[in-house]
């Protein structure tokens, strides 16, 4: 197939058209993805997430610019920018390109906007497949910008090698910082808009959170006594594994400040992943979660195919009238499909 060849050669129109097919989940795209798959696994996937308005797009713009202009390796960059779809109309306004105009005119940068299309994890269902297309087409760094994420949109951590969580001053106190969720997935933390007031408070809150998660030995004077904090013995004796503590980078993305240091943190993290063996572990986790998602989708569509719409509506009506509980409804529907199977395939144990 010539489409495969031209994607591998990096033809931009072919890549773009293939991405649309992948996004629309066309059966032909599955065949092409299968052909491309052996060519993947080379790119460094960098996820950028954080609350809306923290400056993710501007940061991605500057980071890509840095890789293209200042970094000696001049790597090819792909950017996947995800924005939310409307839950009511399915439409979307994808506006991340507005902040990325500095990157236009560079043939080694490819920016693609993507609507989340109903996915709730901060990226779209086909974002992982997008990274495979770019990876096979020879893009060495793939930056994935998630939708403006709140506290639990953490799918990006399963997809990316390095996850950057972007914070900004004034977004929340230290209680927000110790809640579970988005901070836990950070490999690198960025405080963007670091020229704004309140940056010290934000930094202190983030640092103390990190110290709770990664205790290090420290001696402090507390109520007039010298006290030592951090369970030093455990980290030393338990394992010889090197522990990665997420660095905190301060940036002003609109002015390009702190971007070189951020790129350095990202490079250090990539080195750490390779040395510790976590790179392979993350690749494995990513493929497992992708498989899980595909299985779920496939089983779900097969399951629904076997239920007549009228029957389904009837069950919904019963649940609505409180004649059936949702659990009973599921049992009923599952039994319905298993009896619909031909004799030989039926599980007679039930």
């Amino acid at each position: 197939m010539s489409l495969i060849k031209s994607v591998l050669e990096g033809n931009r129109l072919s890549i773009s058209r293939l991405l649309s097919q992948v996004e629309n989940n066309s059966p032909e795209s599955h065949a092409v993805l299968a052909e491309l798959f052996p060519h993947t696994g080379k790119a460094h996937l960098i996820g950028v997430t954080g609350a809306p308005g923290t400056g993710k797009s501007s940061l991605v713009n500057q980071l890509a610019l840095h890789y293209r202009k200042s970094d000696a390796s001049r790597k090819k960059i792909a950017i996947i920018a995800v924005d939310p779809s409307s839950p009511f109309t399915g439409g979307a306004v994808l506006g991340d390109r507005v902040r990325m105009r500095d990157l236009s005119g560079d043939d080694c940068v490819f920016i693609r906007s993507m609507a989340s299309r109903g996915s709730l994890g901060g990226i779209a269902q086909t974002t992982a497949s997008f990274t495979q297309v770019f990876d096979a087409a020879g893009f060495e760094i793939i930056i994935i910008e998630t939708v403006g994420a709140g506290q639990s949109e953490v799918d990006i951590a399963r997809l990316a090698h390095t996850t950057i969580v972007v914070e900004a001053p004034g977004l929340g106190d230290d209680i927000q910082a110790i809640k579970a969720g988005i901070l836990e997935i950070a490999d690198v933390i960025v405080i963007n808009k670091a020229d704004r007031p309140g940056v010290e408070v934000t930094e202190r809150a983030l640092r103390s959170t990190l110290e709770l998660a990664h205790p290090t030995k420290r001696v402090v004077r507390h109520h007039g006594k010298n006290m030592s904090t951090g369970d030093y013995s455990i980290t030393q004796t338990d394992t010889n594994k090197i522990i990665w503590i997420p660095p905190i980078n301060k940036t002003v993305a609109t002015e390009g400040k702190g971007i070189a240091e951020l790129a350095e943190s990202i490079a250090k993290h990539a080195d750490h992943l390779r040395q510790s063996g976590d790179w392979a572990a993350r690749d494995r986790a990513r493929l497992v979660s992708e498989l899980d998602a595909l299985i779920r989708e496939d089983l779900m569509s097969r399951f629904l195919e076997n239920i007549p719409q009228a029957k389904y509506d009837e069950v919904v009506e019963k649940v609505l009238n409180r004649d059936l509980s949702p659990y009973e409804a599921i049992k009923f529907l599952v039994n319905l499909t298993s009896t619909a199977l031909p004799q030989g395939e039926r599980d007679d144990g039930k």
Partner: protein, 131 residues
């Protein structure tokens, strides 16, 4: 979830800084269930063609209020064609004098909308054009 969405690039080429109309149209197309890629102000024809290529859009909507449409539109059409995207439908919204309309249509512009155009008409025409 597998249905094909209409993808539209809404762009403002040229130097005028009034993007209210572009935003209204972007929002209306969004509410009609389309995916709208909004690129912002002061785009060159090259930037627009590049974005259309990377985003694989079905439609490009240009907002031009500066009077430079006879220079900008042909250049954008030319670049789209050079990129192999001659199938992309191009619409213009803004201030276009009546006498320019036939020539724009001739160079392949699908629709032109002036002040007071209804968003319902635009939505209908876009859907019709990409059928």
């Amino acid at each position: 979830m597998t249905e094909k969405k209409i993808r539209v690039l809404v762009a403002k080429p040229g130097l005028d800084g009034h993007d209210r109309g572009a935003k209204v149209v972007a929002r209306a197309l969004r509410d009609a269930g389309m995916e709208v890629i909004y690129t912002g102000l002061r785009q060159t024809p090259e930037m627009i063609a590049e974005a259309a290529l990377q985003e694989d859009v079905d439609v490009v909507g240009l907002s031009i209020l500066s009077g430079a449409h006879m220079a900008l539109a042909p250049r954008i059409m030319e670049l789209l064609k050079a990129n192999g995207q001659e199938n992309v439908k191009v619409f213009i919204g803004g201030i276009v004098p009546d006498e320019d309309m036939p020539r724009l249509k001739e160079m392949g512009i699908t629709g032109i909308y002036g002040p007071g155009a209804s968003t319902d008409d635009i939505i209908k025409d876009v859907r019709e054009a990409v059928k």
